[in-house]
Symmetry: D5
Amino acid sequence: MNDAKTELGRKILKLKKGKGLKWTDVAARIGQSPVWTCALCMGQMSAEPHHARGIAELFGLDEEEEATLCEIPYRGAQPLPPTDPLIYRFYELILVYGTTWKEMIHEEFGDGIMSAIDYDMQLERQPDQKGDRVRITMSGKFLPYKRY
Amino acid sequence: MNDAKTELGRKILKLKKGKGLKWTDVAARIGQSPVWTCALCMGQMSAEPHHARGIAELFGLDEEEEATLCEIPYRGAQPLPPTDPLIYRFYELILVYGTTWKEMIHEEFGDGIMSAIDYDMQLERQPDQKGDRVRITMSGKFLPYKRY
Amino acid sequence: MNDAKTELGRKILKLKKGKGLKWTDVAARIGQSPVWTCALCMGQMSAEPHHARGIAELFGLDEEEEATLCEIPYRGAQPLPPTDPLIYRFYELILVYGTTWKEMIHEEFGDGIMSAIDYDMQLERQPDQKGDRVRITMSGKFLPYKRY
Amino acid sequence: MNDAKTELGRKILKLKKGKGLKWTDVAARIGQSPVWTCALCMGQMSAEPHHARGIAELFGLDEEEEATLCEIPYRGAQPLPPTDPLIYRFYELILVYGTTWKEMIHEEFGDGIMSAIDYDMQLERQPDQKGDRVRITMSGKFLPYKRY
Amino acid sequence: MNDAKTELGRKILKLKKGKGLKWTDVAARIGQSPVWTCALCMGQMSAEPHHARGIAELFGLDEEEEATLCEIPYRGAQPLPPTDPLIYRFYELILVYGTTWKEMIHEEFGDGIMSAIDYDMQLERQPDQKGDRVRITMSGKFLPYKRY
Amino acid sequence: MNDAKTELGRKILKLKKGKGLKWTDVAARIGQSPVWTCALCMGQMSAEPHHARGIAELFGLDEEEEATLCEIPYRGAQPLPPTDPLIYRFYELILVYGTTWKEMIHEEFGDGIMSAIDYDMQLERQPDQKGDRVRITMSGKFLPYKRY
Amino acid sequence: MNDAKTELGRKILKLKKGKGLKWTDVAARIGQSPVWTCALCMGQMSAEPHHARGIAELFGLDEEEEATLCEIPYRGAQPLPPTDPLIYRFYELILVYGTTWKEMIHEEFGDGIMSAIDYDMQLERQPDQKGDRVRITMSGKFLPYKRY
Amino acid sequence: MNDAKTELGRKILKLKKGKGLKWTDVAARIGQSPVWTCALCMGQMSAEPHHARGIAELFGLDEEEEATLCEIPYRGAQPLPPTDPLIYRFYELILVYGTTWKEMIHEEFGDGIMSAIDYDMQLERQPDQKGDRVRITMSGKFLPYKRY
Amino acid sequence: MNDAKTELGRKILKLKKGKGLKWTDVAARIGQSPVWTCALCMGQMSAEPHHARGIAELFGLDEEEEATLCEIPYRGAQPLPPTDPLIYRFYELILVYGTTWKEMIHEEFGDGIMSAIDYDMQLERQPDQKGDRVRITMSGKFLPYKRY
Amino acid sequence: MNDAKTELGRKILKLKKGKGLKWTDVAARIGQSPVWTCALCMGQMSAEPHHARGIAELFGLDEEEEATLCEIPYRGAQPLPPTDPLIYRFYELILVYGTTWKEMIHEEFGDGIMSAIDYDMQLERQPDQKGDRVRITMSGKFLPYKRY
C-alpha cells in the first residue's frame, strides 16, 4: 500500500541528484533534520503540510505527490535479513549486541524499552587518521513496562 | 559451539547481581568500555589474557572459565526476528531506516559500508524532562568498496 | 534465558490448582490486576520485591524462586504462528483487522502507534443468552511518531 | 483473489479523505459500527446488499464496485510478522500475553476458545492526562471444545 | 508445555498394544467415540474426570497420569508441512481442495466458517472390491461471520 | 503455469453468480458430483472433453477456455498456512488430529496411507437445532506400503 | 516419535560394520531387497514379524528392539533442503527435472501420479570406463486422479 | 532471468499439443533422448545449435526463440516443497529414502556423491496386471570426495 | 530498487554475445579486472564515470544507461539457497567448510574477519589432464575485531 | 547423525590448543594439506585409516575416536544464513558475486559447474602494507552438463 510513497522516493532521488542537492539542503528547506527528511522522502515518514509544501516546491512535485508525502505509510519495506551489505551490518549488530543492549538498558533504567517511535537519530562523518568513520547517534525515550 | 561462553554469561550475570556491581565497575577493572565489557561477558567478544584475568579475579572464576573468556565465539546467538520487545525495536529501526542509512552514507562517503568489526558503541542515559532517554552512539569505520 | 521463569510458571500452575486458587485470588494478594499477575507468573513480566514476596508466601516458594519473579524476562516464548487454537484466534485477528486498526487509529490520533509497553488489559466473562462471551479490554498509550 | 476488494479499499480511502468523512460517518450511513464498516471497506468483510447500497451512494461507486462490497473475501492479506510498527504491536501482544490468555480463559470457561467469527470490537480514544490512550474492547463468544 | 500429555500418549500406545486393545475398546470403556478417545490419549483433548478415571483403570495409570488426562493441552504438536506421508495427504487436500471448500460452504451457508471446535469426526473402513477405503466423516457447526 | 486455469475459475464464478446457478446445477449438467465439478472449475482438476463441452455450453465459454478445462493443472495454489479463516480451520484439524489419523488408520489397515488421488468427497448441510452443520465425507483408497 | 527406530538404526550401522556385513547380506537373510532392508534398518519402514526375527538374530537384538523394527514409523526425518551433498543432489534433480517428470508422465499416462507407496527401487553400480556410475531404478504404480 | 526460456516452454507445449506430437517425436528429430529433450524445452537445459535448429524447424520458431534454446539457464524454477502432488512424491522419496541412498552409495563406492550433472535418466511405462507402473532409471557418475 | 541495473545487465549480456566479446575484452577497455567488470555489468558494483564511459562506448549505451552504471546498487539479488546448481556449489562450500574457515583464519590472524568489501577475486581456467579446473583466488583484507 | 564427529572436533580443538599445535603441524603428521586436515577434524571429511592413525597418535585418541575420524559424515552442520560474521562474509559473496560466477564460468567452459567434490582449497596470509590479507585459492574440476 506504500507503492506511491516508494515510487515518489525514487523520483526524488533522481531529482535530487540532478539538482546536485544534499539531504542537508533538503532538510534546511523544511527546517527538519537531514535523517528525518531523508526517511520522509524514502517513504517511511509522514509529513505535515508545510514540509510537503517545501519539498514539492524544491523538486517541482505536483499536488498529488505533495499529498503523498503527507500520507502515513505502511512502514517497513526492507527485506530482512538484508541482502545489501551496508544494511546487513546493522542486522549483524543485533546478532552480536542484542543481549548487551538488553542487559545494559535494564541495568540503567529497569524493565522497559527504548522507544523506536519517540526516537531521533543523527548521522555524521567522524574524521579519523586511520580512515574516517560513520557516527550514528540514536536517542529514544525510555518507556517503562507498566505494572497494573 | 558457544555453549560454554553463553553459560558463563549467565553465571556472571548472577554473580554481578549478587555483588551489586554495575557494568561500569566491571569495565573499570579491565580498563575497557562498559559496552564491550558487557558484550564480552555475554559471550560475544574474545578477551585478551589480562582482561580475562581481571574478570576472573573480580568474580572468582576458575581457570577454565578464565580461558573461556579468551575464546573466539561463534557470534550471533540472538533469534531473529527478536521476540523480546527491547531487542525488537532495533530490528524495527532497520525496517524503517534501512534505506535512509543506505542513502545518507553513500551521499557522504560514496560506495562502501560502515564496518561492524572496526566498530565501537556507547550507551548512556540522557536526562529529559518528558522522560529520560536512551542514547546510543555508534561509530564504525567507513570501508570503501574496492574497485579492482 | 527464561528457562527459570518458564519452569517456575509451570510449578505455580500446579500449586495454584492444588490450592484451588483463582488468578483473582493471587492478584488480590499482591494488589495488582489478575491479567498482569497471571502474565507475571507465566514468566512474561518482572515483579517488584513486594509482589514477589506476596506470591512466594502464597505458594511457599523458596528464595531463589522469589528472586526469579523479579528478574526481567527475555519476553516472547510463544511460537508464531500459534499452533494452539485459542492463541491462534488472536493471530487471525491481526490477519483480518490489521488494516482496520491501522486506518482507525491514524484517523483518530494521527501518525503513531498504540504502545504495547504502557499498556494494560482486562479479561472478563460477559454473560449472554446465546452463550457467554469473552470480553477483553486493552488500553495502550498513543505514542506519536516524532518529527525531528 | 481479493484484488478487487483491496483495490476498492484504496479507492474508498481516497474518496473518504477527499470528502472529509470519518469512519463514524460512513458507519452511521449504513447503521453498523465504525470498526466493522472500516473492515468492510478494507476488503475484509462481506456486506449485505443494503450496506453496499449505502456505501455506494455515499461515495458514488458504480454497480460492479457495489457488488464487490458484497463478495465474501479470501481474508487475511496482512504480511506476518507485520513490518508496520502499529500493526506489529498487536503481534507482540501475542508473544507476551499468549499464555496469559490461554490460562485465564480456561480458568474461567474451561476447555474451548474465544471465537474470532462471532466476534465484535470497539476502538475509542481514552482521554488521559499523561497522554491519551487507545482503548480496544473485544468480545467473542466462548466456544467449548466438543467431547463426542 | 504438553510434554506430560505427549509422553503419556506414548505410554498408552505401548500399554494398549500389550493388552491387545483397539480404540473402540478404549472408547467403549468411557462411553465416547473412538476418534475423540484416541485424540484424548494422544494428548490433544482434555478429559472430564470420569473419562480419566475409566482410562486410568483400564491401563493402570497412577493418579498424576489420571490428572494429566484432564489437563487442557497446548494443542498442535504436529510439524507442518507434515513429513509423514499419511499425514501429508491431508495437507495436500488443503492445497487441492482449499478453494473448493471455500466456494461450496459460502454458496450453501453464506459468509462464515465450519467450526473446528464444535466439531466431531468418524473414521471407518469402507469395504470395496478394488481395495478397501478409508472413510472419514467430519461435522462442524457452521458459524456465520458476525456483522455489527 | 496455472494462470489460465485460475483466471478461468474467476470468470466462471462471476458467470455462475450472474446466472444464479449452484454447483449442483453445474454438476448435473456434466453428470459429475458438485465437489469435483467445483474443484474442476477452480482449476484444480482436469476435465474429459465431454465435461469441458458441457461447462462451455452452460457458461458460453470459447474454444480456448474449453481446452483449458481439459488441461492437467500444476495443482496447489493455496498459500499455506492459510490466511483465510475458513480454510485455516482444515489446517488446524491437521495440527490437532494428525496423530489420531495416523494411529487409527494404522490400527485398522496396517502400514500405508489414505490416497488423496483415488479419493472422493461430499459436502452437505446437516440440519441441527443448535445451528446447522457442515458435513464433509471423505473416502480415499487405502494404499499399503509395499515391502519388496 | 521415531526416536527408538532412529536410535536402533545407528546401533545396527555399528553392528553391521563390526560384522563386516553388506546390505545384500542382511537382505538375503530376510528374503527382501537390499534397498528396502536398508530403509527398514534406517527406521523408515515397518517389518513383518519374520523380517524382524531374521534381523534380530543376525545382529543379536533384544526383544524390544525386535518389536521396534515392526513399528510403523512417523516417516521423514530428513532435514530439507538437505545439507548433505549426496542427498542434496536428489533435491537438485527435483529443481531441474520437476516439470519434465510432470509433462512426461502426463503425456504417457494422463492425469495422475507415480505412487511413492506402491513403489520399489534398486540401486546398483554401473561399471563405466570414464568412472563407474550409480544406477537407480524406481518403479511406482501409476495412480489416475479419480473423477467423481 | 529464465523468463524467456520458461515462456518459450509454454509456447512449445501448446504447439506440441496442436501438432499431436510426443516427446519421442521431438527427441527423434534432434537425435537426443526424450527426457533430455523435454527438459530442454521446459527451459532447464541448453541446446547445441543443431538441436535448436531441429526444434525450431519442427515448431516453426523464430530466430530469437532458436537462440533462446541455446542459452544456459538459471536452473531450478520449481517451488519447493512442491505443491503439485506428482512432483511432491519425488520430494517425499527424499524424506523417506534420503538416509538409505546415503548408506548404500557409501557402502558400495566409499565417500562421494552421485553426480547430478554427469547424469542421465529414462522414463518408461512398465506394464503390470495390477496397474501399469512408471519406471524411472537414473544414472549418475560417482564422484569421490577429494582428499588433498 | 536495482531494477534498472539488473535490466541493463541483461541488455549488456545480449550485446556482448552479439559482438562476440569476452569479459576480458570489456575489462581491458576500462582497465579493470574481468571479475569486477562482469560484476559491475551484472548490476552489483558502481562504476566511476570513466568506467561507465568506456562501457557505454563499447556497447553503444545511452546517457541514462551510462549513469545507471555509476549508481550504487542495493546489492544481493541472488535467491538463497540458490536453485541454480552452479551457484549452489558455492553455498555448499559454506555448509562444508564454514567451520574450517573460522578455525583457520582465527589461528592465523586472531579474532576478526576477512573483508568482503576490501576484497578482490580472480577466476581462471586451470588446465588439467583429468579435466580442466576452475580456479578462483579470493583476497580480502583481514579486519581485526576492535576491543574498546 | 554427526554428533560423534562434531563432539570429537571440539575435543581436538582443545587438545590442539593445549599442545600449542597449528593446523600445519597436524597436516604435516598425516601428509595432507592444512585445510583438508582441519575440515576432517571439524567432522566434515572422512579419513583413510592411516590419517586417522596419525591424528589419534598425535592427540592420544582412543580406538573409537580413531574410527570416528574414518566415518563418512552427514555433512553440513552450518546454520545458514550464518550468524557468525566471519562465516557470513562468504554468504555475502554469493549474494554479490553469484551471477558473476555464473556468467564467467559459462563464458570460459560452457554449460556445467565447478565441482565442490573434486575440489581443493588453500588458505594463506598475504602480507600487505595496508593490512595483511586472507588469500583463499579454490580449485574445482569443471563438470560439463551431460546432453543425452
